[in-house]
């Protein structure tokens, strides 16, 4: 049956009317509907649509609402709805925030002419060319992407260097500029420290450890993991070091990462010594060198931060170091409390440098570990998914991140692996990192705590869980809360990655 109603002397845009008709046709029981102004042509359209238009006396200034439906109540409802919709169209969304998303570099530059840096996290095989385009337009580049060929990296850095621009990366996860975090980084205060890091979580750990000691950081320049190799020659590292040494806002320089190629290391040390600015080197796993104040050489991340903080506060670095060393006794005591045990340690890490440091600390305590990213080639795991004996795995390595989100963002896989370790009867200590800050998962502690609890279901008290949180009070995840969640699940949370690794070492009975 049909119903036709006329609303006199009203004008509606034909588009609006069509959209209302479209909505009415969605109502249950409505077979057809049409809203048109009463012109001759529209009468014909209604008629050809099956409506009986005899006796309708609408003029071109009147609106005809025509509905066909199953029964009277359907038609009543449809007409009511039609009038509501005309008055207040349901499809009219709020004006969007106005953020136009350009689809190209040129488009972006047209919108923000004074851009000075491109942050690139697209697939590696495209990232290099995109970075080159950006350099061509006078932009610095933070290249978060990995899987960028070495030759491309060299070409990018050489070209950028000629133009006075910086390329941070590839595989650079963390950059801090004037206290602002790009990529994965923590919300720490700003201060007179400048960090140059060939290592994302290396930068993060030092950044956080400085903040915990009341010292802020102004700039944290990531260089990418390969920059200090001979082939690249440390282009970005040297540029960054030069800049920070001559920057009067920076009072203390920190350089952190795996040990560079000899010629690069020498160049850096040379620059630093000539400038005379207090500097701390954290060459994780490097040869122990002697300090040459105001240049200090450290081999662990917390130690690096500790010495740098002392310098920044005008305190004695030697005192700071010995205070730190003194904590070892506390860790030994804690290991006794938790209960020392025989068995293997498995490390599940999301931060590459943290994984590396953990291996080194364990090695220093006589525990040699296998890894997918080992510090010595002989200890490379054949299959990253099959840890053996003592194994420390970096879940941020390439084999795990192809087509998957970084483990600092998505903890699913690491949690699965944690549960799997519980089923191995020889595993007695599980060590992991929890990274907070921008870019990271909003609640890693809960996910890991759940995995730990589930694992206990399988392993009982056999496994001792040890962790450190790379985070600070102001981080979006709420540091204190994250700590409590882990502790409630029976995880021993330590102040730093080095301390957690040490505690793990002390837990393994000798």
């Amino acid at each position: 049956m049909q119903r036709i109603e006329i609303i006199r002397s009203s004008y509606y845009d034909s588009v609006t009317l069509m959209l209302v008709a479209k909505e009415l046709n969605k109502l249950a029981g409505v077979t057809s509907s049409s809203l048109v102004m009463g012109t001759e042509a529209n009468y014909n359209i209604l008629a050809s649509g099956g409506f009986d238009v005899d006796g309708i006396d609408a003029t071109p200034n009147d609106l005809i609402i025509a509905v066909m439906g199953e029964d009277e109540s359907v038609l009543d409802g449809a007409l009511k709805t039609a009038k509501e919709y005309i008055a207040s169209p349901p499809w009219k969304k709020e004006m969007s925030a106005g953020d136009y998303r350009p689809k190209s570099l040129d488009g972006a530059l047209a919108v923000q002419k004074d851009s000075n840096i491109a942050v690139i996290s697209v697939a590696g095989r495209y990232a290099g060319d995109l970075a080159m385009d950006c350099i061509g337009k006078g932009l610095n580049v933070m290249l978060f992407s990995d899987n960028v060929p070495l030759e491309k990296e060299i070409e990018l850095k050489r070209t950028a260097s000629e133009k006075g621009l910086l390329v941070m990366g590839p595989d650079c996860g963390t950059v801090i500029i004037r206290g602002k975090a790009l990529g994965f980084a923590n919300a720490c205060p700003v201060g007179p420290v400048g960090i140059v890091a060939a290592a994302g979580t290396g930068l993060q750990e030092v950044h956080v450890q400085l903040a915990r000691r009341g010292v802020g950081t102004l700039h944290g320049i990531g260089t990418g993991g390969r920059d200090v190799k001979a082939e690249v020659g440390g282009i970005t590292t040297l540029t960054a070091v030069k800049e920070l040494l001559s920057d009067d806002e920076i009072e203390t320089l920190v350089v952190v990462g795996k040990p560079p190629a000899k010629e690069v290391e020498d160049k850096i040390l040379d620059l630093v010594k000539r400038s005379g600015k207090p500097s701390v080197f954290g060459f994780i796993g490097g040869q122990t060198r002697c300090d040459e104040p105001p240049v200090y050489i450290c081999s662990e991340l917390e130690e690096t931060a500790c010495v740098a903080a002392a310098l920044a506060k005008g305190e004695d670095p030697a005192m700071a170091r010995s205070d730190l060393k003194a904590k070892e006794q506390g860790l030994k005591n804690r290991a006794e409390e938790i209960g020392r045990r025989k068995g293997y340690i498995r490390g599940l890490f999301s931060g590459g440098t943290l994984c590396y440091e953990a291996q080194l600390v364990l090695a220093n305590h006589g525990i040699d570990t296998w890894s997918n990213a080992p510090f010595s080639k002989e200890k490379k795991l054949e299959n990253s998914l099959k840890p053996v004996a003592h194994s420390i795995i970096d879940y941020g390595e390439d084999e795990f991140t192809q087509g998957r989100l970084h483990p600092m963002m998505d903890l699913t896989f690491r949690c699965e692996r944690l549960l799997a370790e519980a089923s191995d009867p020889e595993v007695s200590v599980v060590l992991f990192d929890v990274v907070l800050g921008y870019g990271c998962n909003p609640d890693p502690a809960s996910l890991l705590a759940d995995a730990v609890t589930a694992s206990r279901g399988r392993s009982g008290d056999r496994i001792a869980y040890v962790a450190s949180i790379c985070g600070f009070d102001d981080d979006p995840q709420d540091f204190e809360k994250q700590k409590k969640i882990l502790e409630s699940a029976g995880v021993a949370v330590c102040e730093s990655n080095a301390q957690a690794s040490r505690l793990a070492a002390f837990l393994l009975a000798r």
């Binding site: 050809s48 969007s96 488009g107």
Partner: protein
């Protein structure tokens, strides 16, 4: 030594300097270059009868009947198949046509001249909505209307236009377009303001020039009832300004973009006479009452010349009312235009967008930017019914297919890059 940027700048410059002026009207046979007694011109790239879609076939059949070459639709089909008719793109004859774009020898056409460069373009008159030839109708109503247009509409318009030409040098189409753009038209799907402005100009001229003013009421009413009347003139204006910019060595600017209901095709300034084609898009548009998705014919018409010259879908930010066709907001309309800036060479000098602080519309589609970014031109167009003669089924936003641009970009690189 050729620089692509310089070449494109030159091509865009020529496009923007164009001054399209309506000078005259004539019968296609005598007026359109290359027209023969058995030529039927059509929209889009070259196409054979066998490959034509419903609306195109219907229009061809209607033209055959209108011309008196066939008495029935069946005879028309036989004739079309026979090979006696020469089918050719309007574009090959400096002409354009909306939807099927069928232009036959007896049809009256507008003559628009690009005063800056001296080249001319041609287009027939817009029939209005409903049972019309350009949607593939070959009904008696359609034929009768075409005859009336030839016998009554044409001579009166012609006399009015000639009068304007004699007294003012011609009717400045570009100026009407620029004003219409500030009055809510985007000059492809909304031409109400343009049509109104055209009427204001032509009525007094016709009153002064025509032999029998008693014909004028029905002439004026016809144009008045057809909100899209001005579209054809805007298309001819676009055509003659773009043609002057064709043939610039090293330029990657699109000078022709058109569809024939089966295929989509483009021509590029620096790539000579070659068409780059691929399958035409299937429009996903807001449907008029009584039609479903299955009724929609593939994209058809030379009206893409509007976007090619920086209007239509490219000027959506100036005509936000249209965006309701896709249930969008005024911000969406603005975003479409913003996107088009990313694939064009520059901005228009005369066609400006009030909402963007009178920034010129994105003008001069660059095939290289399209290939690089994957952003394809956005058109604001009508969709025809697959079945000949059932008319328009809907209207909305349609994206042009990437393939033709990729082919053109490849050809461009092959031509101009030397190792």
């Amino acid at each position: 030594m050729i620089d692509i940027q310089e070449a494109n700048k030159k091509a865009l410059d020529i496009l923007l300097k164009g001054q399209p002026v309506l000078l005259d009207m004539g019968i296609a046979r005598d007026t359109v270059p290359g027209m023969t007694d058995r030529t039927i011109l059509h929209a889009g790239p070259p196409i054979k009868w066998e490959d034509m879609s419903g609306p195109m076939r219907g229009a061809v059949m209607g033209a055959c009947i209108y011309e008196g070459w066939a008495k029935t639709p069946e005879e028309a089909v036989d004739l079309a198949k026979s090979g006696e008719i020469t089918f050719d793109p309007c574009h090959h004859h400096h002409a354009v046509g909306p939807m099927a774009g069928v232009t036959s020898p007896s049809m009256p056409v507008f003559v628009v001249e690009n005063k800056t460069y001296g080249n001319k373009s041609y287009v027939n008159m817009n029939e209005g909505l409903g049972q019309v030839l350009r949607m593939g109708s070959f009904s008696q109503e359609t034929i009768d209307r075409l005859r009336w247009m030839e016998e009554v509409l044409y001579p009166n318009l012609r006399d009015g236009i000639r009068h304007i030409t004699k007294t003012l040098g011609g009717l400045d189409i570009k100026s009407i377009i620029a004003q219409a753009l500030h009055m809510g038209d985007e000059l492809h799907n909304r031409n109400k303001a343009g049509t109104s402005l055209f009427l204001r100009a032509i009525i007094p001229a016709m009153i002064e020039a025509v032999p029998d003013v008693r014909q004028l009421p029905e002439v004026i009413r016809f144009i008045d009832k057809n909100d899209h009347f001005f579209l054809n003139l805007a298309m001819a204006a676009g055509k003659c300004t773009l043609e002057a910019a064709h043939g610039v060595e090293g330029a990657s600017m699109v000078t022709t973009m058109a569809r024939n209901g089966t295929e989509f095709g483009i021509k590029v300034s620096g790539l000579g006479d070659q068409w780059f084609t691929c399958q035409a898009a299937l429009p996903d548009v807001l449907l008029f009452p009584g039609f479903t998705k299955d009724d929609v014919n593939r994209d058809i018409g030379d009206s893409a010349v509007m976007e090619t010259s920086g209007l239509g879908g490219f000027a959506l930010a100036a005509a936000p009312a249209i965006i309701q066709f896709v249930g969008g907001t005024a911000q969406d309309a603005a975003n479409y235009t913003m996107e088009m800036y990313e694939i064009t060479i520059g901005e228009n000098n005369i066609y400006t967008i009030p909402a963007f602080n009178f920034r010129g519309t994105p003008t001069g589609i660059d095939i290289l930017k399209v290939a690089e970014t994957g952003i394809t031109p956005v058109l604001d167009t009508g969709a025809a019914c697959k079945e000949a003669g059932r008319g328009q089924v809907g209207a909305g936003i349609v994206r042009m297919p990437l393939d033709a641009f990729a082919k053109a970009a490849e050809a461009f690189i092959e031509k101009y890059f030397e190792d």
